[in-house]
Symmetry: C2
Subunit: 427 residues, 2 copies
Amino acid sequence: MALIVQKYGGSSVADAESIKRVAKRIVDTRRAGHDVVVAVSAMGDTTDELLDLAAEVAPIPAPRELDMLLSSGERISMALLAMAIHSMGFEARSFTGSQAGMITDATHGAARIVDVTPVRLREALDEGAIVIVAGFQGFNRDTRDITTLGRGGSDTTAVALAAALDADVCEIYSDVDGIFTADPRVVPKARKLDRISSEEMLELAANGAKVLYIRAVEYARRHGVLIHARSTFSSSDGTLVIDSRRAELLAQGEHMEEPIVAGVATDLGQAKVTIIGVPDVPGKAAEIFKIVAKSGANVDMIVQNVSAAATGRTDISFTLPKSEASMALKALAGEQAGIGFESLVHDDQIGKLSVVGAGMRTHSGVSATLFEALSVAGVNIEMISTSEIRISVVVRGDELAEAARVVHTAYGLDGDADAVIHAGTGR
Amino acid sequence: MALIVQKYGGSSVADAESIKRVAKRIVDTRRAGHDVVVAVSAMGDTTDELLDLAAEVAPIPAPRELDMLLSSGERISMALLAMAIHSMGFEARSFTGSQAGMITDATHGAARIVDVTPVRLREALDEGAIVIVAGFQGFNRDTRDITTLGRGGSDTTAVALAAALDADVCEIYSDVDGIFTADPRVVPKARKLDRISSEEMLELAANGAKVLYIRAVEYARRHGVLIHARSTFSSSDGTLVIDSRRAELLAQGEHMEEPIVAGVATDLGQAKVTIIGVPDVPGKAAEIFKIVAKSGANVDMIVQNVSAAATGRTDISFTLPKSEASMALKALAGEQAGIGFESLVHDDQIGKLSVVGAGMRTHSGVSATLFEALSVAGVNIEMISTSEIRISVVVRGDELAEAARVVHTAYGLDGDADAVIHAGTGR
């Protein structure tokens, strides 16, 4: 008998029918002899609807009250799910974040988990009940107030519960079959991976893959939680996210070479800002990125052109999430005189392509394959950045899909058939 | 500076605009220098929508989970209300039933308040904040589970908070101006009462008046809480519900005679069940009403016909809420052989008219006025029951409105003008 933590997102519990389907899935797991703890998100678009209501009554809602408001969404879905399971003849009990012992700091809207004390969950499990926990929410001990964990919070709730309860596996359900070598909507020949190392998963998630949230993967890696990303609509296995050392051992045990590249990630959510005519003197770049950081924007890639000797000036480009571009531009424009640059250019028609693979550490020529494939396809590279196990390039946004397909083929990732895409809201 | 508890029902916070209007009203009270504690219901039809969802996922929802589900409704409204107040520049904090110290027994769906420990509310008030509390919900100490108080729960929450905080007044807001001598939709010449004694209010509420819930009035009477029933849509005074002794003293002080009749209540929500051919032997009535009580139905009026000597059999009629008739009928039908009656007749076309007044204790002839007025109007009386300060009669349902108007006139209750009825959902 194993202890299994399952997480179901908003699209998996969008209406009464979906809730009953999820309830059946949970009951099946229980029938197979396992203890089950479930973290559940708010139904469908509930959170967005509550945010709309908040915007109607207050231009800038008080953060404490916004958390109180948003946390009601999971109470609805978890109570309905517990009822549905109950009516199938199984004991089920729902718990709010605070009842589940999900202790966080006091940062409303983006609280960090500081402790998990699942005393009541253990009691309920010991009594044979299926446990349903509200995802996304916690509780601060000092203020005694309800908090929410921010984007991807329910994934993090599930992983944190799995760690605290020493669960055998944390199953994260969504409307896709697992982790793919690329987004199947962009690259039809993408293949589902049976397993991926957590460091590769982190790079993919950080660079546009949307199946798992970085924060949950990080938490899982730090606490040794085995994640199984799988589909609500299918009973077949998804993708196991395992720690890197274990991935290596597995590959050796199977006498297989670790694949060099695990997957290709694409991201159309970034914009590029170029600062033209920056005085080419020491300290200017530091000055600029201090201003950008202060504006709250998160810079991703940075490129500085070679200085034109005649003018003593250079151009600096950087990328950041589209939604953060306006605040960065505003902050920079306000400091134009101080920095002494000539003008600002904003470009939101870019696409970022990343190739991720732990094998890059030990294999040379990985980047050459990328550049050659893009060159043959006539795709121009505008920016490049690399990490130990990733190469990212910025290309024109309308060339991104084509670029992803040729690169996917070049690294030998193509599957035999086109990937099946389930209907769904895509989270 | 007074401490004022205010209660706003679902129709007062049905949408963003209504919430902002209520927020302004609360802020105005605060601006006048008072401490304010607010109990709020779920928005508009939220509770019914949640009940519908529950019915979709489970035929008989688990009571613990149903309470978890329903309690989310007030979290939404109270957080939105606190935000709206906050954005008007006033500090406001919302509290769930458990955060507010609303301790109940463990009866899910109809919990009784056993203690109120408003420690956090006092802290918030001391810090100058406006306090918003979720109506309708509480918390059981032993099970550590969330409970709900059942129908009229938010009124009870408000009164219980007023008692625990020793508030100067508990203002119950609705879409009517206060307590009327009759339902203005039935009797257009109904007058608003400036005050009413709590015992009269209890009789009116128990017999069909819908402005205040019996349970809240009872709680207020027991704990000496002054209720002020008033309208969300007007700033004029409503009706004070004061204890009976105080009502008498006030009347004496003003050298006024206490009015004999405070008001006329009408109720179309009852049905009549007649058991025909019951053996006229001792103990049969007890047997019958034990069966009815066991079915969960609440019997109101009972009439037994004089036995027909020839047959040794009699008919017994009783009234009960329409919604409870089918379970009572089913229970009785199942015991037909045991009781030995001939048949059951069900009549849901009845109306109940009640005349309530503390003056009935000391004045004779009150019932004669009622019977004469109905006789002149040609309204037939089917059943009669009385209490110390009330006379109720059952008439045909389609004659109830006419009966109420002639009785209202006969007791000299008519106002000079027709009462103004505000648009609203009638809560």
